[in-house]
């Protein structure tokens, strides 16, 4: 036991004597979490602080064009800039100066009205209420609202804009049909025969705890994901630490001492786990105290702290296990550092830190199930967003612990085999 404490104390000394390394270890995760949360915060806000300037070319000058413009302006997402012609708008968008240009075709309002009237008259005639004058029926060409997107625009933004405009146009068409029927049936335009408001609506039901809805925000999503990412980055300094021991000869000396490799790794585990926990505390503190000052939502940790620490400890252990294994196998820092950093990024991608697992291809979803970062992230989300208890996170933290045990055992066995005497 004394040897374990002595090993841990030595690791502590090595860490605190490298001031630059210590700063990187604790400050960089905070910079990461602040940067990511600020960037992603707007995507979580229903009313954004920033509006996206878009171009509109109104060739219609009618009610439909006006309704589209009003709808976009009222969304508070877009700042409408009217341009005179399609060529100018297209060039501006394709050169990347604007994200989007909407070209409303000529006679859209009048042709829509004509088309709807024609259809309604046809229906009414079918019922025998009026005679259909077939000579009046003309062919009205289909109308097309053109959308120009900056080629660099993300697919998700495109889809969201397309859906929004599609919904708006459908509503305009429906209302035009109602109006046309009203005109045919009643002579009094003020008489409300049809309820034009949508009959079906949808409402998101949020989880309720203590009579209060739990509404996720960017902070509740980002802090767990990026905290986990930062915790796993412990792989890099830890593996470098082990490789350094080999290159500076201290590892050879330790091999001649009556101390087991497990004890040496145990000392490293204790100290690096403390580092993970301190990182975690600092990141929580940023979420709770600094984010509100920066105008970001406050991280709500009320009643969750014990479980959050539990997840952080087991995630830290999983990361440490991987670091011990990598450090044991790698021969040089040039092997361990780039591999460690890249591997963490891969694990993060697989774990769903960037892209949610449910939208990944099936094969990647299966792979995601074996990523310790996925287990950690799920456990954090369980606590932060799903408000679950210890029993629900038990499978995930068990997997994280198992991962630590397996990776550490492989490291010990590998070392024994390699240095077997």
């Amino acid at each position: 036991m004394r040897k374990l404490w002595a090993s841990a104390y030595k690791e502590y000394l090595l860490l605190i004597k490298d001031f630059g390394g210590l700063v990187v270890l604790f400050i960089m995760p905070l910079v990461l979490i602040i940067t990511i949360t600020i960037i992603q915060d707007s995507t979580f806000k229903t009313i954004s602080d920033t509006t996206i300037p878009i171009l509109i070319v109104d060739n219609d000058h009618g009610t439909v064009a006006q309704t589209i413009q009003d709808g976009l302006a009222n969304s508070n997402t877009f700042q409408i800039i009217v341009k005179e012609n399609e060529t100018i708008a297209r060039d501006l968008v394709f050169s990347g100066k604007y994200q989007l240009a909407i070209i409303i075709p000529e006679d859209l309002s009048s042709d829509l009205e004509k088309k709807v009237n024609q259809n309604v008259e046809g229906i009414i005639a079918q019922f025998g209420l009026e005679d259909e004058d077939k000579s009046k029926k003309t062919t009205i060409p289909k109308k097309e609202v053109k959308l120009y997107f900056d080629p660099a625009t993300q697919v998700s933004f495109k889809s969201s804009v397309k859906n929004g405009i599609d919904k708006m146009i459908s509503k305009i068409e429906t209302q035009s049909i109602y109006k046309a029927f009203q005109k045919q049936i009643s002579d009094d335009p003020s008489e409300a025969i049809f309820e034009t408001e949508s009959f079906i609506s949808f409402k998101e039901i949020l989880p309720i705890v203590d009579d209060e809805e739990i509404k996720p925000n960017s902070v509740q999503h980002n802090v767990p994901a990026w905290t986990l990412f930062a915790i796993f980055f412990i792989i890099v300094p830890l593996s470098i630490n082990i490789v350094k021991e080999k290159s500076q000869g201290t590892f050879v000396r330790l091999r001649t001492n009556p101390v087991s490799y497990a004890t040496v790794l145990g000392g490293k585990t204790l100290i690096y786990l403390c580092v993970c926990i301190i990182q975690f505390i600092l990141m929580l503190a940023v979420g709770v105290y600094l984010f509100p000052i920066m105008g970001l939502p406050t991280l709500d940790v009320s009643g969750r702290l014990p479980l959050l620490f539990l997840v952080a400890i087991f995630s830290g252990l999983a990361a440490i296990g991987l670091g011990l294994l990598l450090g044991t196998i790698a021969k040089t820092q040039e092997q361990s550092a780039p591999f460690g950093a890249t591997f963490v990024v891969i694990l993060a991608a697989l774990g769903g830190v960037w892209v949610p697992v449910f939208i990944m291809p099936k094969f990647m979803q299966t792979l995601s199930n074996i990523s310790p970062m996925n287990w950690g992230l799920n456990a954090f989300y369980d606590v932060f967003l799903r408000n679950t208890g210890l029993l629900e996170i038990l499978p995930e933290i068990s997997l994280l612990f198992l991962f630590f045990i397996i990776t550490t055992l492989i490291a010990i066995v590998y070392n024994e085999k390699k240095n077997a005497v």
């Binding site: 004394r2 500076q248 050879v252 240095n419």
Partner: protein, 247 residues
Amino acid sequence: MIQIDKISKKYKTADVFSVSNLDLNISENEIFGLLGPNGAGKTTLISILCSLVKPTSGTFSINGLNYQQNKNELKQLIGIVPQEYALYPTLTAFENLKYFGSMYGLHGKTLKNRINQYLEILGLSQFANKKIDTFSGGMKRRINLIASILHEPKVLFLDEPTVGVDVQSKNVIIEFLQNLNKKGTTIIYTSHHLNEAETFCTRVAIIDHGKLITKGKPADLISNHEGAHNLEDVFLRLTGKALRDHA
């Protein structure tokens, strides 16, 4: 004390044996020099005796303890001063020594007193709280030595302990080792400094190409080789003048 029976070692990537069928007995309280040109197999033999390298064949025992059956007892019995500075450069001399001492099960006042005692003897007391990376080569060599003897081993292996140090440091190290030997420590040492070996060692063995060429007291070896005035003459006569570059 040390019984080596037909030890051989061939590394996986090597074409030839680094140590070949070597028999050697080293008695208690000897200062035994392992001499040989570069690549002769000295470091490999010491590494085998320190349980760092597994022999391909053969066996050895130290103080009656077999390396395969009594690994931990054997580690407690021996001390190794490696050729490279096996120290943490960012830790102080005291912190390094405290850590390595504690790996031998030493702690508390015993450990602290031993560290201070050896630092004093080797003239490093005033540098106890200085970081190793600020030390000169000679100072590092001395700390490297202290880190290996804190547990007061019965057998001390030294792989070129005076390489790259000034005369003053070398003299302090040699004198210190002689005192250790007087107190009962058996010393096995490798060196390229043949003059040093001639005066320091009670017995030497010259090995080349992994094989034992000769062994005996330095004075006997010199007198047995006609025309030889010192150990270097004997060494060159037995190992030749050709360069021993290898990669």
